[in-house]
Every structure is written in structure tokens, then in C-alpha cells.
Amino acid sequence: MPATTNQTEKQPDPNANQGMQFSTESYLDMDLLRFLTCGSVDDGKSTLIGRLLYDSKSIFEDQLEAATQASLSRGDERMNLALLTDGLRAEREQGITIDVAYRYFATPKRKFIIADCPGHVQYTRNMVTGASTANLALILIDARQGVIEQTRRHAFICSLLRIPHLVVCVNKMDLVDWSKDVYDRIRGDFESFASRFEITDITFTPMSALLGDNVVTRSENMPWYNGASLLHHLEHVHIAGDRDMIDPRFPVQWVIRPQSDEYHDYRGYGGHVASGVFQVGDEVMSLPSGMTSRIRSIDIGGVGQPSAFPPQSVSIQLEDDIDISRGDMICRPNNQPKTGQDIDAMVVWMAEQPMVVGKKYQIRHTSNEARCIVKGLRYRMDIQTLHRDESAENLRLNEIGRISIRTTKPLFYDPYRQCRATGSFIIVDEQTNNTVGAAMIIGPTT
């Protein structure tokens, strides 16, 4: 069903974005925030995204015109904002969002990457995909409906993927007479079930995406709400602290060895810093060899750096010529990841073919590749009720469970709750080559 056809929608105000002034300096001094939108078209998600994009001037006239033309040819009465965001022919034909779409907008403070995810349960894998790289998630609730099954599922996935910040958007407040009571009840409902999840930062915002209340500017219809508008929150939420700057982990991705006389002795280890900080002069250890050395230099494209931190991609040279190759992990002698072959993980299954206990799969973990055998399924979790079914024998598409695996070689990992980059791996089917599972490491199998 098209999103906005049967609603009276205020058309975007063409003058709304004139106040958003950039200068050349501000362009070169912006942060990056990746966020996820969870909800279905019925919650007003497309309207909200459309408004953020339009009010930040990220929709161009020809795109607006194309969507207007398409709306008219479909017989819609007014411009259907969902047509701006639904990119595939099948999506437009069926009026649904199937896959994650990435959208971009910027304000003078931040550049934003939106992972626009479908909300229905059959697209859980798509939402998990979008959630894996997000710093923040918007969960949309229709104020008339309150907290529903879908809300719980979305909140659970956000907590499973450990998205550090959550914003609960209580939308369509205009349809409940801007009622504080309705908002308070929804907020209370959400807080009571979310207390079971590991979510550290939750913000609630009552809004009307359709009318623009509390999206970019504060609402005048809800004087009882003292918080910031959504955009203000997105611009100011503190994200620098989301990274682990304590535990240095550098998975070696590519060895840079120039075959030239000038750089005869150059041997750089290319990779991106998964967590922690590395400084020139630091004593480091390479796994699995256990050999130690010191950092001689850190550079990006030949330009020296005093330090490297996440998520930088750098090249590191060591003082000593020790044997290091792709898949090895550089860390500190007194701060090492766990090493092991028997690992428990939460896994989201992403393929039509069910996960089979006893089957062998390929896995990709940091820059490492290995094979594994699924030794057991501890339980399957019902994502609606959070009930753990310990008698489950397999995991089907979109199902989530705790598995135990044994790998062909040791992995150097941290629990996912400590470090997303060293605590995650993907499972690949060796016959089809498809990515069939997304896994978050709990720890060694006990």
C-alpha cells in the first residue's frame, strides 16, 4: 500500500531549508553519523526520511519531479514520498520496501548516512544488515497504535547488534491531539520492555513527520515536551565515545612490499584499526606468532602519522623483520584478544536453506578466513516473545539463535559487546558462495 496517498499531507515547504548555510570551512570539519530507520511505511517512515532529506536540501528538483510524475501515473492523488526512496522496480510496483537503501544528507555539523530498512519480519535479515554499521537507530511508533510486536522486534535487533544510541520517534502525534498522556503511556511501555535489553542510550521524541513537528524544528503544538527536535539530537548526540580506544587491535589486511630499489626495505602492514590506539614507538605483538616488535612508522599513502585510531586505514611498519601476513592480528603484549577455536555466538540466519548442525561452512572474521563446523544449536530465540527454544534443531531464514562452532584454525577475537569489529563474523555457504549468516561472538564455548 502506498504510504501517503490517503493522508492529507503538507507539501514540503520550498523555503524551509534556506536557513541551512554551509561554508567551505564547515564542509571540511564535519563528523559522520550512520543511522538506521526501523519501521514500516504505515508508521510514516518514508515521510520522515523525505522530510529530513528535503529540509536539508538533499532532494533535487528533478528527483522531486520524477517522483511527482510517477505518483500521477500511478493515480496517486498527491506526491508519494515513498517513491523517492523505493529504488527498485519491484518495490515501486508492490508499494513495499524490500531491501536496505542508503540515503545521504548533511547539515553544517554532520554528514548522515541513513540505512533505510524494511520493517516487516520477513525482511529481518535486511534490517540486521543495515544495523551492523549504524551508530544510532530511529524506531518509529505510530502514536495511535503504541508499542506493538514490531516495535519489540526492532528494539531487540538494535540491542542484539549493539547500536549505541536509540531514538524512539512517537510519530503521528497530530492524530492523537498532541496528547501528553498518550506519549507518556507509550514511553512507559517501551521503557518497561526495553529494560530487558542492553540498550545504553534511549531518547524519546514525540513528533509529526507529516506536519514537521519536532523533526527539524521544535513543535509549538506540544509545549509540554522539553526535549530537542530530532535533527538537533542527530546533530549533537555524542558518538566519539562509541569507539573502544583502550584495546589496540589491528587485523593485517594486505602487506605492502614495493618491488623497487628506492623502497627495498619497506614492508608495510595495511589494515584498518579495529579498536584502540597505536602510537609510533609502541611495543606490539603479532598473533598467532607471538613475536614482538616496536612500531617504526605509521602512514597513510606515504604520509607519516604519529598515531592510528579507529576507523582509520593505515600502513604500519615495524622495527623488526618478523613474518606477518594477511589474517594476522597486531595487538599489545599486555592487551591481547582471546584466541580460540571453540566459540559461541548469536547468529542471524540469512538464507532460504536452513542452518544445519554438523554442516561445514566458511567464515570471514576481520581479515581472516577459516572453515568451521556448527557443533550445536544452544537455542533458537523467538524474536517476538524472546522465548528461548532449546529443543530447536535448525535455524531458518530470519531466525536467531545461539550456536557453538569449532574453527579450523584459531581466531583472534573479542566478545561482540566489547568490540564490533573483532567480535563479528559472517558465515558463507561453500556451495553457493552466498553469505548465509551474521554472527556476534559471545565467547569461548563452555
Binding site: 564542509y27 559522520l32 542508503y102 554528514k111 594486505w254 584498518h272 597513510i300 606515504g302 598515531s307
Partner: protein, 310 residues
């Protein structure tokens, strides 16, 4: 622009451009490690020039572990070809040129019928022919998700079957920064390291990194005609004016550089990068609005991608 943290203000901060750069470097190294025979698609346009700079960041002081590949339609702006040759000479990297004209001569591709001389479709068999000839298993492209709505749904590692086809409903999930490049012989992937960049990000990066780009992007005098509401450059045959068209001499620049046959100019006095950035910021039309090839129908890009287009 500084590349390191300023200890006096916000330590270990990464601006959005540096974060995007780090992501692109990571993707390029991942391809180098996972594939036997990658190549970097190079058109001479600003996005592919940025890709070359990112490859330098990923692999210097060593050589690139892949060649550059140019699919030459024969409809290039002469300025873009000159620029390409100059850049490659300075880089010291290998350039492979595969020509649409050669495929046409061999009967493996044909000119588009109709009044408009476009070789847009003929690029597809030429590209696939290059992939077969050199047995490339991965190709880097400079496409961005903000360009077009079919692209907004495409993975960074975009899997293609032996016919080069993209199946939008059967894409591999792509999580965290873990990229699955497993493929069978004959299959290949297209990789888009700057997927998450916008047009503005590209311009900002060009300015921040002081990257040289073809003169076409800056304001200059040029002969153009008005065709279907756009300013179309005219040149020697087959790019001459049509009957009833009046050639005008205007101050224009190009916001995107594709073939002469499908790229429209915009009237602009923007002579510096700062001017261009100000102009892009104020623009009310999208970049691909100047690409006549996307206007055919609502799903034009999706359809071409399914056939093997980038």
C-alpha cells in the same frame, strides 16, 4: 586539512571525509587480497580520478596491484583523453584501453539506432569483452549510491553472473566491514569503494586533497545547442548541430563528464573549486539530471545494470 588528531581540541577525531577515505582504502585492499585479477575502471571523470588517489593511499609506496581499464566509446571529450594520458604517465601505472569501435568493427556491438548518436549501450558488450579477454574477476567503479535510486540499493561488492547481470533481488547481505568476494570462474564482481560518498563529498575531497581534474569541469567558452531543454556540446561529426539548431557560444562547465553524445553542459561562471562547491551546494538539480541516458524511463538505470552496465 589535517590528517591527524588535534590534541588541543578533540583527540582522535575523524572528519566525515577522512572516515569515507578510510572506508574506501579498506575496500580496495580487501579486493586486492581476495581476487586474482582486479582492474580499476578509469574514465577520466572526477570520480575515477578520486578512485586513483584512493588507490595511491591504499598501496603506495608500492605499485597498484591492478591495472587501470578504460572503456573507450570513441565519443570522449578530447580534453578528457589528454588528461587521462597525462595522469597515467605521472602515475607510472598500467592502462588498458578497450575500444567500442573495435567491437563494432568485429560485429560484436552495434551503434544505437535512432537519431541520437549514443554508444551508451555499446559499452556493455565492450566491457564484458574486456572482462573475458583479460579474465578480470573484480572491477572497481566510481559509482555512488546518491547518483540514482537503483544504485542506492546496490552492495559495495556487487556480484555479477557470467553475463555481467545484476540481480537486485538476489544480493548478498553485506554486514559490518566484512566483504564476501567468493565467486566461481567466469563470474565477477563490481566493487564501489565510494558508494557512500555524495557528489559534494567528492568535490570536497578534490579540494582538500588538491587533486587535479580536467579543465572541462571549470567554466570555459564552448559551442553548444539547445536540445530537449539542455545545453548540448557540439563538435566535429557526429556531434555537429542538427538541422534547425542554432549554435551558441556560451560560458559553460560540465558537472559530470561522460560521452560527448550524452553529457549536457550547464551555464556557469565557476572557475575554481571553491566556486564549484558553492554552485553544487546551491544546485536544485541532481548530477545525473545532466545525463540524458538516464531519462528514458523510471527504471532506465536498473535495466541497464541488469544487462551488465556499471
Amino acid at each position: 586539512m589535517t590528517t591527524t588528531a588535534d590534541p588541543n581540541s578533540r583527540p582522535y577525531r575523524l572528519t566525515h571525509l577522512k572516515a569515507l577515505e578510510a572506508e574506501a582504502i579498506h575496500i580496495m585492499r580487501e579486493v586486492a587480497a581476495q581476487f586474482e585479477r582486479p582492474a580499476l575502471m578509469f574514465s577520466g571523470g572526477k570520480d575515477s580520478i578520486v578512485m586513483v588517489r584512493l588507490a595511491e593511499k591504499a598501496f603506495r609506496p608500492a605499485k597498484f596491484p591492478f591495472p587501470l581499464l578504460h572503456i573507450d566509446t570513441g565519443h570522449n571529450f578530447p580534453e578528457a583523453l589528454d588528461f587521462r594520458d597525462q595522469l597515467v604517465a605521472g602515475l607510472g601505472e598500467r592502462l588498458i584501453v578497450h575500444k567500442v569501435q573495435d567491437l563494432i568493427d568485429q560485429g560484436l556491438a552495434s551503434e544505437d539506432p535512432g537519431p541520437f548518436p549514443s554508444r551508451n549501450r555499446a559499452q556493455i558488450p565492450t566491457l564484458l569483452h574486456a572482462i573475458e579477454t583479460y579474465r578480470f574477476d573484480a572491477l572497481f567503479g566510481g559509482a555512488r549510491r546518491d547518483e540514482e535510486k537503483a544504485r542506492a540499493k546496490e552492495r559495495i561488492f556487487s556480484f555479477r553472473d557470467e553475463f555481467g547481470q545484476w540481480d537486485p533481488k538476489n544480493q548478498r547481505p553485506e554486514l559490518w566491514s566484512l566483504y564476501n568476494g567468493r565467486s566461481r570462474p567466469g563470474e565477477n564482481i563490481r566493487v564501489f569503494p565510494i558508494s557512500n560518498w555524495t557528489e559534494m563529498d567528492v568535490w570536497q575531497y578534490i579540494m582538500a586533497e588538491n587533486i587535479e581534474i580536467p579543465s572541462l569541469y571549470f567554466s570555459h567558452k564552448r559551442d553548444v545547442v539547445r536540445r530537449m531543454g539542455q545545453l548540448v556540446p557540439v563538435g566535429d561529426d557526429p556531434f555537429g548541430p542538427r538541422p534547425n539548431e542554432t549554435v551558441e557560444h556560451k560560458t559553460v562547465r560540465f558537472r559530470t563528464v561522460g560521452d560527448m553524445s550524452c553529457t549536457a553542459a550547464t551555464e556557469s561562471p565557476a572557475a575554481t573549486l571553491a566556486d564549484i562547491i558553492a554552485e553544487v551546494a546551491a544546485a536544485r538539480a541532481s548530477e545525473r539530471g545532466a545525463r540524458m541516458d538516464d531519462k528514458t524511463n523510471e527504471a532506465a538505470m536498473e535495466d541497464r545494470k541488469k544487462e551488465g552496465y556499471f
